[in-house]
């Protein structure tokens, strides 16, 4: 369960940014999570609950946007969604596939007062 570690990092980043922007209460957080990170959205939500006692996060809603795993073939440049972790180009069957999506793990934005 690395969701708690991930959430600790999210919370630390938000604390620092909120202090910089003089925000006392965060109301909404948008987190972007690629499917290949293997981070489970429900577990991230559950981990976030741990920090809800803090005034800054008390009324915050955590929204998680999941991104699919996407690849681009190095041989024929075909761009496609990778299903079932088969990193083979569906167009030319080449295994030389560059990963272009699915590893995202970032705070897109947050809102607060």
């Amino acid at each position: 369960m690395h969701e708690l570690s991930l959430m600790e990092n999210v919370v630390a980043t938000l604390r620092a940014s909120a202090a910089e922007n003089r925000i006392k209460k965060i109301t909404r957080i948008q987190l972007v999570v690629g499917k290949l990170t293997m981070a489970v959205p429900e577990a991230l939500q559950f981990a976030f609950e741990v920090f809800k006692e803090e005034d800054l996060f008390k009324s915050a809603v955590l929204e998680i946007k999941e991104e699919p795993v996407r690849g681009e073939c190095k041989e024929c440049q075909h761009a496609f969604e990778i299903k079932d972790y088969e990193f083979l180009c569906p167009s030319c069957s080449s295994p030389q596939v560059k990963l272009v999506g699915g590893r995202e793990l970032y705070i897109d934005f947050y809102e607060g007062d």
Partner: protein, 221 residues
């Protein structure tokens, strides 16, 4: 209401420390391997055999990651190599910050190779860069064929897979060719070695690969 666009990577801090670790290893010309697997795959036994084989040819150090115990570190210490234990106190993986204090405990002068044995887990360690040069996954045939497809990230992030417990093959339902096909579908560039740590077989190609990496790293330093 204020909206703040951050686009801040969650693991930015870890990646910064990992970069510092990498610079440290680069300066010392040490090849660093992050050894990962699920619990019970034979990670420590594989490490023990590797140490035995490399004795006399390479100077090796070990960092042992474990949730609470020092059992693995004690096993490694018996081989007379410097070993530092890191207890993660519940965390299911090592991160770059945990590695840094351990670096002060080593005498890095003359060390060729540092192996970091990660906490037994196929999910979380894959996400955290430690500043290593390469990642190896130990996967035993007793775990079943479905592991690569269930935990693709760790195989995508690794350079080597050591398929261990080959001696148990007749007693399992593991289909080796299917297993290797699945691994290659996730990452066609992976080096795959079949070994048995228990019977001490199949280690030669793996050791050659390791020695080659150490040589390349030394030349770059």
């Amino acid at each position: 209401m204020v909206k703040v666009r951050l686009a801040a990577p969650v693991l930015q801090q870890n990646e910064e420390v990992a970069r510092e670790n990498r610079t440290f290893f680069q300066k010392h010309g040490i090849f660093v391997l992050n050894l990962m697997s699920s619990p019970g795959s034979g990670k420590t036994s594989t490490l023990e055999r590797t140490i035995e084989h490399l004795a006399g040819s390479l100077k090796l150090g070990v960092i042992e990651g474990d949730i609470y115990t020092t059992r693995d570190a004690e096993r490694i210490e018996a081989y007379g190599v410097p070993v530092v234990q890191i207890n993660t106190a519940g965390a299911c993986h090592l991160d770059a910050r945990m590695i840094r204090p351990a670096l002060e405990d080593f005498d890095f002068g003359g060390l060729d190779l540092l192996i970091i044995e990660n906490v037994g887990n196929l999910v979380c360690p894959a996400e955290f860069d430690l500043g290593e040069d390469a990642r190896a996954v130990v996967l035993s045939v007793a775990e079943g064929n479905d592991k690569p497809l269930k935990y693709p990230l760790i195989f995508r992030q690794a350079q080597v897979v050591l398929i261990n417990k080959i001696d148990l093959l007749p007693y399992t339902d593991c289909d080796l060719s299917l297993l290797e096909k699945d691994i290659r579908a996730i990452n066609p560039d992976l080096e795959i070695f079949r070994i048995s740590a228990r019977e001490n077989t199949g280690f030669s190609p793996w050791l050659s690969w390791l020695k080659e990496q150490v040589k390349i790293k030394k030349q770059k330093a």
